[in-house]
């Protein structure tokens, strides 16, 4: 290998299927997850949670619990009076409820005791007097019923947030249309169900400094929340994110148990651990919002969209969490796949007395994507167009700006569609909307859908001008390389990405590198593992740090070898003259030369996303340095007798930009297909609205998720359309490939048996009901029929780029009240 290891040269590490740097430890029981941490004199914490969905706390009596031998400390809401929350606009959580509880599972009191059994017994001895309040259990109730209010803030009664945006004049778009279609959909909520239950250990040491080890995807945001709630200087707090045993968005909020173990440690002077039970993990939730959606689209005869009006109603649960961002996300990405020249979005998030919803894989976008892709399928049928061809014909152009001011870079969706259409033999399977000339027998069908996802949110969660990701690199004279970054490996391989990129630039083996991540004392800030930001952002930061280090090595070696700097190459743990490869030094010798010349070798790199062209209020959600694209074809077998849907195979093509490691990309695609499959077929967070809004089944047995027996065959295509903003052209893969799966399956069910299930999940009961209705001459559709009537605020109007807009909102017209 005699290559120059620059971004443009042949690659020795990037694009190769190396194992992950942490893989062997994970297969040998050596990886330490949060609950594996045991410290001397450690106490165990149990948290008493409300069994009331909505109630005032009239009194808490801890006397009996405190008297139990082995109980060291008990705290209640009064001990932690400062509120917090992930978003600056919704600081609405207390680590322990103060005046009232808002859902079954809301934390009320916490015990630290010498072991878990004592803590558990003590927890059950705490007496809480509640005064029950009426509950709000659905979006409709939240819109209609103002009192009692779940929170004393928000846009109205129990409405947390209302958003209304219009890009161009949508009515003009509808006037130009040959066909206008309206549909209503419901996407039930579901949860992340990471295999690892959340756990945290807090330790307030003799220097009165605090360390928290926690299974969190966002140590930097937890760090900020702890400083605020505990009133400690942030510089005296160290947050270490342990390897996450699965995240999927479920470990992205600062959590009450994290605050509680720290507070208990501050009180007792001993380390304190809390590990949630599986039932508690269901109550932590922050999962997929249930969303009711209405979409109205005008199209020309060839399927070209002339205007779209999308409305979404989110059931937010009891707290804000990421909900304001989730609300915007249900409206943001409709425009990045197919050309939408005029677009109106109205979104509403409701507070209800249920565990809070937040970000789950695809954050706020799988619901509208499902609605949009099924809606387009219905449009294609009305226009008698092939649904794959119709989509293919109207794609957003690469390097363009959408009506809502999202800047598209590389765009490989066309190739993605071509691949899954060819691979699935679509032309010879799809019914062509002609039930009498089916190509597959009744009961078998295929469906297609496409999608896109961001590669990192353009803006951080709190406003600042600092980089979103930082990497520090240290080279020592023995040849060691240490890469440090605040990012968190949640299984996706982010630690490995750092090693691969640094190894590529420095011409060494990725397993030569020590990776130190997710420790706020040791690593530069990275905002965390969310929004599919890590490969792009930490990758770019690592690339910058490594290129700076490389430059120092090159200068020192060029001087030593007396050859021009541009002749120096790094590969195979050597630094050498590319014209005369045997002339060179080992990598370790190169560091000695550089250290002799420049002093200790350390470099940094950082990454800030480009500025978004959108400047209107609300433009903060949706912009990203790049967008990934996916297309999928699902093949299903529907039993008309039982209504059971078996997904036999999914062909999926994903525009990854460039695979840093194709094997890990494949794993993310397959895992995304799996999770999308679970959502469309079985997973649901379901509550008994008439029985105190209690969760129907907070257990892994009854919350159905796919086992090996339900997982389908997956045929994957990786499309490499490099994006100039990605490291080596790389885009995201952790979330995007989930998105086309639910609508592709829904469309395939229609192709198979001719009924539309406009509500996720597609359970056998719903299929049977639709089939029965159809056999009785009715619609053959299962799904919601109406949306709540809402007084929307006057939309914020923005001229589109095509209309000569500059990304700012137009002055508001006076509204008569």
């Amino acid at each position: 290998m005699r290559t120059k290891n620059s971004k443009n040269g042949p690659l020795n590490v990037v694009g190769k299927p190396f194992r992950k740097v942490d893989a062997r430890a994970k297969c040998n029981g050596q990886t330490k997850f949060a609950d594996d941490i045991v410290l001397p004199r450690m106490l165990y914490c149990k948290i008493l949670r409300s069994h009331q969905p909505h109630a005032l706390i009239k009194g808490i009596d801890t006397t009996r619990a405190a008297a139990l031998p082995g109980v060291i400390a008990i705290i209640t809401g009064g001990d932690l009076p400062i509120p917090y929350g992930i978003l600056p606009v919704s600081q609405d959580e207390h680590a322990l409820c103060i005046e009232k509880v808002r859902f079954i599972g809301d934390p009320v009191a916490a015990v630290a005791a010498i072991d878990e059994d004592v803590a558990f017994d003590a927890m059950n001895l705490i007496e809480v007097e509640y005064e029950p309040l009426n509950t709000i259990s659905t979006i409709e109730e939240a819109v209609l019923i103002d009192e009692p209010r779940i929170h004393d803030y928000g846009d109205a009664g129990n409405v947390h947030k209302k958003v209304s945006l219009e890009f161009g004049n949508v009515e003009e778009g509808f006037a130009e249309a040959d066909l206008i279609r309206e549909d209503t959909f419901f996407y039930e909520g579901n949860t992340h169900l990471p295999m690892e239950q959340h756990a945290a250990v807090g330790n307030f040491d003799a220097d009165k400094k605090l360390t928290l080890w926690s299974s969190t995807q966002t140590p930097h945001y937890v760090h900020r929340a702890l400083a605020k709630v505990l009133e400690l200087p942030a510089s005296h707090i160290r947050v270490i994110a342990t390897p996450n045993g699965g995240g999927f968005g479920g470990k992205s909020d600062p959590f009450n148990h994290e605050v509680i173990v720290c507070k208990l440690s501050m009180i007792t002077g001993r380390p304190v651990k809390a590990t949630l039970t599986r039932e508690e993990v269901f109550y932590c939730h922050r999962g997929r919002h249930p969303v009711l959606m209405h979409v109205k689209t005008g199209v020309k005869k060839d399927g070209a969209i002339t205007g779209m009006h999308f409305q979404s109603f989110l059931d937010g649960g009891a707290y804000g969490s990421y909900g304001v961002a989730s609300t915007f996300y249900t409206g943001a990405l409709q425009t990045v796949t197919y050309e939408v020249p005029r677009y109106k979005f109205q979104g509403l998030r409701a507070f209800t007395n249920k565990p809070p919803c937040g970000p789950k894989r695809g954050h706020g976008t799988p619901q509208p994507r499902y609605a949009l892709e099924v809606h387009l399928d219905k449009i294609a049928e009305q226009l008698q167009l092939d649904p794959a061809e119709m989509r293919r014909a109207h794609l957003v152009e690469a390097n363009s700006v959408t009506a809502n001011y999202l800047r598209i870079g590389s765009m490989g969706l066309g190739t993605c569609i071509d691949k899954v259409v060819a691979g699935s033999d679509w032309k010879n399977r799809f019914s062509g909307w002609n039930r009498n000339r089916r190509k597959l027998p009744f009961g078998k069908g295929v469906g297609v859908a496409c999608s896109s996802y961001i590669c990192g949110a353009g803006l951080p969660i709190y406003w600042n001008n600092m980089p979103q990701s930082g990497v520090q690199l240290r080279l020592d004279r023995q040849g060691g390389v240490c890469v440090m970054c605040g990012s968190v490996d949640i299984g996706q391989g982010s630690d490995s990405i750092l090693a691969y990129i640094v190894a590529e630039v420095l011409g060494i083996d990725p397993f030569d590198i020590r990776v130190v991540t997710a420790d706020t004392d040791l690593t530069p800030v990275d905002l965390g593992s969310y929004s599919s930001r890590v490969t792009l952002m930490t990758g770019n930061a690592a690339l910058q740090a490594a290129e700076r280090a490389r430059e120092l090595l090159v200068m020192a070696v060029a001087e030593k070898l007396v050859v021009p700097i541009e002749n120096i190459s790094l590969a195979e743990r050597r630094v050498f003259d590319v014209e005369n490869p045997e002339v060179g030094v080992s990598f370790a010798e190169a560091i000695v030369l550089a250290e002799s010349k420049f002093g200790t070798i350390g470099t940094v790199g950082s990454y800030s996303p480009p500025r978004s062209p959108g400047k209107y209020k609300g433009a903060g959600v949706g912009p990203s340095p790049a967008y990934s694209y996916s297309a999928a074809v699902a093949e299903v077998d529907v039993d008309p007798e039982t209504g059971i849907v078996v997904v036999e195979r999914i062909w999926i093509a994903h525009d990854i930009g460039k695979s840093i490691n194709p094997m890990l990309v494949m794993g993310q695609v397959e895992g995304s297909v799996y999770m999308g499959l679970g959502e469309i077929l079985m997973e649901e967070m379901a509550y008994r609205g008439n029985r105190n809004v209690v969760h129907k089944f907070p257990s892994m047995l009854e919350y159905k998720s796919p086992t090996t027996m339900e997982m389908c065959d997956v045929k994957t295509y990786l499309i490499e359309d490099p994006d100039p903003n990605g490291p080596y052209g790389a885009k995201e893969v952790g979330q995007g490939p989930l998105l086309p799966v639910p609508p592709a399956v829904a469309n395939a069910v229609y192709d198979a048996v001719g009924v539309r299930i406009d509500e996720v999940p597609i359970t056998p009961e719903k299929v049977l009901k639709a089939l029965r209705d159809k056999s009785r001459g009715r619609d053959g559709r299962y799904g919601p029929v109406s949306i709540p009537s809402v007084e929307w605020p006057e939309p914020l109007r923005v001229l589109t780029p095509a209309e000569g807009g500059d990304g700012t909102e137009m002055p508001r017209v006076a509204v008569h009240s």
Partner: protein, 176 residues
């Protein structure tokens, strides 16, 4: 909890090939004894109710859920955990293929899958894909969609039979 229940019990058993003795509170599950009293934290838990397969270990060569077995019942038995799978510094072929092929993403469910797969390959050195799916159907994984796990089991099985096996190109790079 009454004082009687807190009286520790004592058992002797074989743990990862070595004689072991331990005293613990009698109500403890084998999972708790392993993790808390023996500091073998490689065995994980996902529900502690026998629903997810995460805590699977081998007892007398058979895969069992350690959260559903009392520690007391391990008396005289042969217990194998993830910590006992490698031979010295050499990983078991299953551990190697799970690591090398990306079958462990977050790695939390991996110990359970590995031990259940080990039992499978003892019984069936050349299992079909369907046999692998059936054997692993009691273990949940939320990361991988199981596919890389099947491939890792198949490749380890081939190696253990002394055969060379190449993964199809499409498993690593996708279809052309």
């Amino acid at each position: 909890m009454s004082e009687v229940q807190k009286q520790k019990v004592h058992i002797s058993f074989t743990l990862n090939g070595e004689a072991a003795e331990i005293a613990f509170a009698p109500h403890k599950t084998l999972l708790e004894v392993l993790r808390e009293d023996l500091a073998l934290t490689g065995t994980k838990h996902g529900c502690e109710l026998g629903e997810c397969g995460t805590c699977a270990i081998l007892v007398d060569g058979r895969a069992i859920l350690s959260c559903l077995m009392l520690g007391l019942d391990a008396e005289g038995r042969e217990v194998k955990t993830i910590e006992g799978m490698a031979q010295g510094p050499e990983l078991h072929p299953l551990q190697e293929t799970f690591a090398d092929l990306g079958a462990a993403q977050c790695g939390y469910c991996s110990p359970g899958f590995l031990l259940v797969a080990e039992e499978l390959l003892k019984k069936k050195p050349n299992p079909t894909r369907v046999e692998i799916q059936e054997a692993l159907s009691g273990n949940l994984c939320r990361c991988t969609g199981y596919i890389k796990i099947y491939e890792a089991v198949e490749m380890a099985a081939a190696r253990m039979r002394g055969e060379e096996m190449q993964l199809p190109r499409e498993s690593v790079y996708g279809l052309e």
